[in-house]
């Protein structure tokens, strides 16, 4: 094989491999694995809610988009058509009970349904902010001690 052919073949191979890599690791990269992520913050549920209601802007700058592990007493478990939500209630307002709402990852739905109100749990999830009624945590998992 001529030298120029070898070189162009190598260039083509590198181009194919790198574009596949770009596709897999950049364009098609997976969503963040919240369940196995190390929490950016570990705190008490009441503390998170109080901080958000006292200063939303500052709390957003700290917590919004971050992985948070919460501990606290669950007040109720809500079950919708497709979701199970662990709710920490701290207040009552225009939107009924207000507090922190943790939407479970589907694989934790059955375990979450068994939580009795008043039980202290550790929940890890991604915080998507405060809508002036509730702090929302998503993709939550139950942490067993």
């Amino acid at each position: 094989m001529k030298k120029w052919m070898k070189i162009s073949l190598a260039i083509v191979a590198v181009a194919i491999i790198s574009s596949l890599a770009v596709y897999k690791f950049y364009i098609n990269k997976p969503h963040k694995d919240i369940e196995h992520a190390t929490p950016d913050f570990t705190l008490n549920s009441m503390k998170l809610y109080k901080e958000y209601t006292a200063n939303k802007k500052h709390s957003d700058s700290l917590y919004n988009g971050k992985v948070i592990e919460l501990s606290g007493k669950v007040d109720k478990i809500e079950v919708t058509d497709s979701m199970v939500i662990a709710v920490f209630v701290f207040s009552k307002g225009d939107f009924g009970d207000e507090g922190i709402r943790c939407t479970m990852l589907p694989k934790f739905n059955e375990d979450a349904k068994k939580i009795m109100p008043g039980t202290t749990v550790n929940v890890k999830g991604a915080c998507s902010g405060f809508n002036d009624s509730d702090v929302i945590l998503e993709k939550c998992s139950l942490i067993k001690d």
Partner: protein, 184 residues
């Protein structure tokens, strides 16, 4: 006479309570669809709070931008970081009223057309909007749905020219709220 007065008061209070009722959801669904020249993009948010006051027609919707879920993580990242700047503008809201309240009989099952007027805040920009929707009254619940268009430039959402063919200039928004009564 006194008894009668009390009875009348009681009935009035009871009926006022019956009509002055609030219906809410905290897991309403809002999705949008962008039909770009190159690709179609869809995202859904099922963590939307909405409340309707059937006596005044007041209607409030609260959305957290980061709760929109995309099929591709990269799209979600661009949506949050580049277009919606969700760190800077984490909330989107709608505050308004149903303007044809007299056409809706909240105590009778059925599907009613609703005209909605109010202010929509996206990306820190508030615009007044008038949209149409339907209210379905069924088994003590109110299911509100609407479909409308949002032009991104109205809300100062900038799409870089490199990807201008990937993202539609006007996106279609679909909302579905199944609201239950709150006892006050």
């Amino acid at each position: 006479m006194k008894k009668l007065f009390f009875l009348a008061m009681l009935i009035m209070l009871a009926s006022a309570n019956l009509f002055a009722q609030k219906y809410i959801t905290k897991n309403g669904k809002v999705s949008f669809y962008s039909d770009g020249e190159i690709e179609k993009i869809q995202a859904t948010n099922d963590q939307v709070s909405a409340a309707i006051d059937t006596s005044t027609g007041d209607f409030v919707v609260k959305i957290l931008v980061k709760s929109f879920e995309f099929e591709k993580a990269l799209m979600q990242e661009h949506f949050n970081d580049d277009y919606m700047e969700s760190d800077k503008y984490p909330n989107s809201t709608f505050k308004g009223k149903i303007t044809n309240l007299s056409d809706v009989n909240f105590s009778k099952d059925g599907t009613y057309n609703a005209n909605i007027q109010g202010s929509l805040t996206i990306h820190g920009v508030t615009k007044s909007v008038t949209e149409k929707g339907t209210l379905q009254i069924k088994d003590g619940k109110i299911i509100g749905t609407s479909k409308f268009d949002v032009t991104l430039s109205d809300y100062n959402v900038k799409i870089p020219s490199v990807v201008s063919k990937n993202i539609a200039k006007t996106v279609q928004i679909n909302v579905a709220f199944s609201m239950g009564a709150v006892k006050s």
